[in-house]
Structures are given as structure tokens and as C-alpha cells.
């Protein structure tokens, strides 16, 4: 495999970008679509005071919840922690700050961050605790909440396939937040199940153009799901 853009690296090299206090996006839904190997590497590195942005606190064994449970986060921005106990316990102990965002709003805040917008206007959450402390903006006589865009220092992405430039293809429902987070970080690190030569991915099939991708690693991703 050629490496003309110097994007293909080892997991250890990729971890240089993950530092104490950084804001990190980890894609995946209940661990599906999350990079197991990169999450394990973050745990191994032991970085602290992370602000973690993820759609949920994941599956306790394979998702980003692993990092939360390892007490490496000071803040979690998410839509759901119900699947696991670690985040809730730390929150109740006052050791973790949690910002809940409705799932569609969270996705759209990340999308906005990735396409150079400062925020979005939505009526989801109006009349609920979600509107507390948020600016309301009236458009054509109707009120909306201003939800600010989210960006990160690092995004952790799982792709089915990457080429040398970082063009990405995902797999089925493992897509989730991956393409959105891939655009929203200063450094986008991709764990690709397969790395192929330029031209092997049909341009029509590319979901994330390679310009968004900074680092490509090849993880082994070997784990067992609860139902297996």
C-alpha cells in the first residue's frame, strides 16, 4: 500500500493527537459503528479531563462508555446514557458533567459544526427543560431554539473501507454519526476495516470525501456482541 499523503499511520501514532483536556467525538450507536481499537488505545493512553461527544454512552464493553467508566471524561455531551450505569453513577457523584441534547438536535449540531455553520434553529425541545438558558429566535412569527454547533479537536471514526486519500465507505446501520463527526473535528482519525488503493472505491459510493480525513489506521476490531 502506498502512503503518498502520509495519512496511514499506526494506532500509537494516531494517539499523539489525543491529549489531556481535549474535546473528542466518538461515533457509533450503542457501540455499533464505534472503533473498538481506538477506544481501547485511548483507555491505554489514560488521557484525562476529556470532553466526550457521542450519541449515547454506548455499550459498556465496546463503546465510548468504556472511556467514561474509566473516569477519563470531565464532560459528556450526548442524548442517552440509559444503556449503562457508569455515566449515571459518575454524574450522581458530581464527577461528570452531562449535557443532554435530543438525538436529532445533537446530530444536526455536529453536522453544522462540520459544514462551517455556527448553529441551527429548531423547535424540538421547546416547552421542555432543553430550552433552559437557550436563546430563542423568531423566524416568520414562530419561535425556535438556537442550538450551537459542535466541533472537536479529534473525531474517532469507524469505516468499512478507506482508500489511501481517506475517501470513506460505511456499513449499513454502522454509519450513524460517522460521516457527520468526520467533518467536525480538527483531526479526523479513521479506523478502516479495509484500506484500498486509490480508484478502488467508486466515486459514486464515497460518503466522506478524503479531504476530511487526517489519519487512517487499520484496526482489528475483534470483539463479541452481547447477543452473540
Amino acid at each position: 500500500m502506498k502512503n503518498r499523503f502520509n495519512k496511514i499511520k499506526t494506532i500509537e501514532e494516531a494517539m499523539k493527537h489525543v491529549t489531556d483536556g481535549c474535546t473528542i467525538m466518538i461515533a457509533g450507536f450503542g457501540g455499533i459503528g464505534s472503533s473498538y481499537d481506538l477506544i481501547q488505545a485511548i483507555i491505554k493512553k489514560g488521557v484525562k479531563d476529556l470532553t466526550l461527544i457521542s450519541i449515547d454512552a454506548g455499550d459498556p464493553d465496546v463503546g465510548p462508555d468504556h472511556i467514561v467508566g474509566n473516569k477519563q471524561c470531565k464532560k459528556l455531551i450526548t442524548s442517552h446514557i440509559g444503556a449503562t450505569e457508569a455515566a449515571g453513577d459518575l454524574f450522581n457523584l458530581g464527577e461528570l458533567d452531562i449535557e443532554f441534547s435530543p438525538q436529532g438536535t445533537l446530530a444536526e449540531r455536529i453536522r453544522a459544526g462540520g459544514v462551517g455553520l455556527a448553529g441551527i434553529l429548531t423547535d424540538v425541545g421547546m416547552g421542555t427543560v432543553i430550552e433552559e438558558g437557550k436563546e430563542k429566535i423568531s423566524v416568520n412569527g414562530k419561535d425556535y431554539l438556537l442550538e450551537t454547533a459542535l466541533t472537536a479537536d479529534v473525531a474517532i471514526i469507524l469505516a468499512e473501507k478507506a482508500d489511501e486519500f481517506g475517501n470513506l465507505v460505511y456499513s449499513k446501520t454502522a454509519r450513524g454519526l460517522n460521516p457527520l463527526m468526520a467533518r467536525a473535528a480538527d483531526v479526523t482519525i479513521v479506523d478502516a476495516k479495509e484500506i484500498v488503493e486509490l480508484g478502488e472505491i467508486d466515486p459514486e459510493d464515497v460518503i466522506t470525501p478524503g479531504a476530511y480525513v487526517d489519519v487512517i489506521v487499520h484496526g482489528e476490531g475483534d470483539w463479541t456482541w452481547g447477543w452473540q
Partner: protein, 222 residues
């Protein structure tokens, strides 16, 4: 014996779904609705993690770890299904392409306010996609027991728990019957076999109007 109560509620909810509808099912009893869609109806089930056209569970041993529903349970994709990212998934909901969402409830107010995501002081699981779905689906159907485990009404004048969305529920299917949320409050339209209007009135925490064409639902033959 007729169907178990939860099955009857799911079967009744399935009657609301029409051919070609795009439908999202919440956790619990709503997930049983899929079992009561007649084969002549082609329904596209949406799972917010990124599929339209969610199909039944695969045979054991044939699960694909990359095809799951929003509960991370392995499913299949039906013919005509599509995959998309989370923004597209909720874009579809917000822009009015989701015909029906069927959700569980902790409390429902007579104006259609819904509370189903948290109990203060208790576990805070997070709202997941519930706020988006309840606020933006074209039709929100709540399936819930009429009272909580202590016997307190779940249908009331105002919700006391933190809201999921305001004025969103239009139809409520309980273990006693079916109520519509109208401009004047709860309207009892149907009763499950074995229950009475008096029972519904007693167990509801707000006034209940009784429909002139009250239907008695008897699934005993089912």
C-alpha cells in the same frame, strides 16, 4: 381466552397504520405492533440509528452486527430499505416524512403534552430520539397502561414530570380502551372488552368525554 392485554394494545395500534406508511416504534409494547401488520400492508419501519425498511429479526446465527435497530438488537433490512446517517434520519422526522410514531408514556396531559423521558431524582437515561420523534412525527400514538403501578392516573390535566414534547399526542391506547386527544380534552372512543366507561372515568386524572359511537373492541376471536 383472548389475547393478553399488551398484545391487544399492540394489535389495536397496528390498525392505525396504513399501506406505505413510514413508522417509528418506541421500546416496549410499541415494538409488538410489528407482529400485527397484515401481510397485504407494506410498511416502512424507521429506526433512528439509520434505516428505513427495518425488517424482522434474523435467524439465530445469521445476525449481521452492522444491521441493528435503535435498541441495538439485530434486525434485517426489507426489500426497498435504505441506510443513512443520523442527521438524515432525524431530518426525515423533522421534515414531516414520518407518518406515525408509537411511543410509551409516563404521563399524558389532556392537551396532548407527553412526559416519557425522565423521573426527577431517579435514573436520568436521557431522551435519546424521543423529543424529536414526539415533536415532529405527523401522528403520535401513545401506548401505556391507564394507571401507574400504584394505581395513579397516567392521563391527567397537566403533566407533572419533565415534558418530552408539548401538545403532541393525538391518540392514546391503554389497557382499558382508546382515547383521542381533542381540543376539549380526552375523548373515549373505544373500550376493550370487559371494561366500562365508569372505570375509565375513575382511573383518568382529567375529565373524559364519551364518544356517541363507542366501539367495544373484542379480540377474543383473534
Amino acid at each position: 381466552m383472548g389475547l393478553a392485554v399488551k398484545e391487544m394494545m399492540a394489535k389495536r395500534a397496528a390498525e392505525e397504520i396504513e399501506n406505505g406508511n413510514v413508522v417509528n416504534l418506541g421500546f416496549g409494547i410499541p415494538q409488538k405492533v410489528v407482529n400485527y401488520i397484515p401481510p397485504e400492508k407494506k410498511v416502512f419501519f424507521h429506526a433512528e440509528n439509520g434505516i428505513l425498511g427495518a425488517g424482522p429479526a434474523p435467524e439465530k446465527g445469521k445476525e449481521d452486527p452492522d444491521i441493528v435497530d435503535s435498541g441495538c438488537v439485530p434486525i434485517t433490512a426489507i426489500k426497498g430499505a435504505s441506510y443513512f446517517d443520523s442527521a438524515d434520519s432525524f431530518g426525515l422526522v423533522r421534515s414531516g416524512k414520518l407518518d406515525i410514531t408509537i411511543l410509551g408514556a409516563l404521563e399524558i396531559a389532556e392537551n396532548g403534552d407527553l412526559a416519557n423521558w425522565m423521573v426527577p431524582g431517579g435514573l436520568i437515561p436521557g431522551m435519546g430520539g424521543a423529543m424529536d420523534l414526539a415533536k415532529k412525527a405527523k401522528k403520535v400514538i401513545a401506548i401505556t397502561t391507564h394507571t401507574d403501578k400504584k394505581g395513579n392516573p397516567k392521563l391527567k390535566k397537566r403533566c407533572e414530570l419533565p415534558l418530552t414534547a408539548t401538545e403532541c399526542v393525538s391518540l392514546i391506547i391503554t389497557d382499558l380502551g382508546v382515547l383521542e386527544v381533542t381540543e376539549n380534552g380526552f375523548l373515549l372512543k373505544e373500550l376493550f372488552y370487559g371494561h366500562t366507561t365508569d372505570e375509565v372515568i375513575t382511573k383518568t386524572g382529567a375529565p373524559v368525554e364519551i364518544s356517541n359511537n363507542l366501539r367495544l373492541i373484542d379480540y377474543k376471536e383473534a
